[in-house]
Amino acid sequence: MMSLTETSLKRVIWNQYVYKLIALNGMFTSLMATQLAAFALSLSGTGGTTTGYGDITIKVKYFSGDIIFYFTLIWAFMAGMSITIKAYRDADFIFVTNRWTSHLSNIALLLTESLFAGLTSPLLGNLLKLVAYWGNPGNVLGVMAPPPGSLLMNILVTTGYAALLSCLGYLTGMLAQVNKLLAFVVPCVLFGSLFLQGSDGIVVDVIRFYAAEASVWIFCLKAALTLAIVYPVIMLMSDSMEVRR
């Protein structure tokens, strides 16, 4: 009497995505909190030098969106990691899902949040500069006028980095689920190589691969390709994980 419902992968992924968007809105609030904190911290300057000659001392303060940017990246990494915890994975299986739709909707969620972060971070950075300009009347030495179109580039680049970092966070979180030891070993190895090998090391090379890229569009391409490779690997790796519920 009751006929089976036809399953549509796309519909399920969409429903899961909407569900997570609404249920995990805490992520957006934590992003805002992080960025506001970074904003507050930046109000006293994001860099500076002091020079002096004789009785004269000169203090120079720089204002930029750097701190906001780095805080946003840290947030992205944490966001990626946080949706891999047991509670959230279990929550997927309340309604309709399989392991693929679970991952794909997570990825869609992280990309959405990266875009959101990519929009808010540069805008906040610009706001900071405005506040600094008006907050220090008469003291402003110089403004590096951003070239036209740089806001868009900023958004793209920030989005790209946020997407990469959240992917890295997701990977780390998933490794932790597979084997707790891995989640400890991998960061150790990474940081270890940073310390030991310094600027000749692999980790720095990897970072340079992205950071030293001059062209925004090629950077975006690199980021997209990285995601297109790493995420499927993560999906395959965790295919047989049980849901403990």
Partner: protein, 300 residues
């Protein structure tokens, strides 16, 4: 048509054998009670059927497919227990709306009416509910989803007896108007008796029996009378339970059949039916001796 088929299903964790060699099938449009002690393996079995766990060996198919990682099974099945990790950021009504998006058979009107009947606030949050209210809410979700396979794992945890009665009634009414295949696990078999069609008894990971409740009701009989006489009449039979029920009055529970009934009648011994709950308890006895022995230690 069999909705669920298990063939020599086994599941082990870290050296512990949770399920051993289970083979059975569940027919479409039946209500089956999954009965067993704590730790018998009921939840493990039902979670394997739901596709949350993978079998260690053996086969399980639901709707003809392996349930693990199957979108088809997930779409047509809902698993309800008291642990459902529903989000705290949504109101109860929002959760119902969400559920409605996933399940095409969802009856939103029914869900909201039940929410109202059980005095659950639509604007309340999941984490604010008491234990019993949580079970009630989960039960509402399970019933309103109208999934072809609905699995309830101890759905009445924390519910008081009048709410439990309402739940059983709601389950029956839903089953009558929209038949589906239901698996229901509970400790309270005596309450469930009338609701069930079949019973699956699991003990220490093994399947003890799978039979219609009517058969289970007539599985055993208790013979009561003078001790020696009762012992003689039940001499070469498997004893499920025995105890003194008065001075020199002895009761023994054995398998029911025509010959034992006749023998009892001839010797003037009293016979009485044994409820499904009792026979399940006797057959799965784990404790050593009786509880009275714990208190009798110091007596000469």
């Amino acid at each position: 048509m069999n909705v669920i088929e298990c063939r020599q299903l086994s599941k082990s964790y870290y050296r512990k054998r949770a399920l051993q060699d289970l083979s059975f099938s569940i027919r479409e449009h039946t209500i089956t009670g999954v009965i067993g002690r704590n730790g018998a393996g009921k939840t493990t079995l039902m979670k394997i059927i739901a596709g949350f766990y993978r079998p260690s060996s053996g086969e399980v198919t639901v709707f003809g497919e392996r349930p693990f990682n199957s979108l088809k099974v997930s779409q047509n099945m809902i698993y309800i227990d008291d642990q459902m990790p529903l989000p705290t950021s949504l109101t109860l009504l929002d959760i119902l709306h969400m559920a409605g998006r996933f399940y095409p058979n969802w009856d939103h009107d029914l869900a909201t009416r039940m929410l109202n009947y059980f005095s659950l606030h639509p604007e309340g949050r999941h984490h604010q509910l008491s234990k019993g209210q949580r079970s009630t809410f989960h039960a509402i979700v399970g019933l309103a989803a109208r999934c072809p396979l609905t699995i309830f794992d101890e759905p009445t945890t924390g519910m008081d007896s009048s709410i439990r009665k309402d739940f059983y009634r709601a389950l029956l009414k839903e089953y009558l108007s929209h038949p589906r295949t239901i698996l229901l696990s509970s400790h309270l078999l005596n309450e469930l008796e009338d609701l069930l069609e079949d019973v699956l008894l699991i003990h220490q990971g093994k399947l003890l029996f799978h039979m219609p409740i009517d058969e289970l009701r007539e599985y055993a009989v208790s013979i009561t009378g003078p001790e020696k006489l009762v012992e003689r009449v039940t001499a070469d039979r498997e004893i499920y339970h025995q105890q003194h029920t008065g001075s020199n009055v002895y009761t023994t529970v054995v398998r029911r059949d025509a010959s034992i009934l006749e023998a009892a009648r001839q010797h003037g011994l009293e016979t009485a039916p044994v409820s499904p709950e009792d026979i399940c308890v006797y057959v799965t006895k784990q404790t050593k001796g009786r509880i009275d022995d714990v208190f009798n230690r110091n007596q000469p």
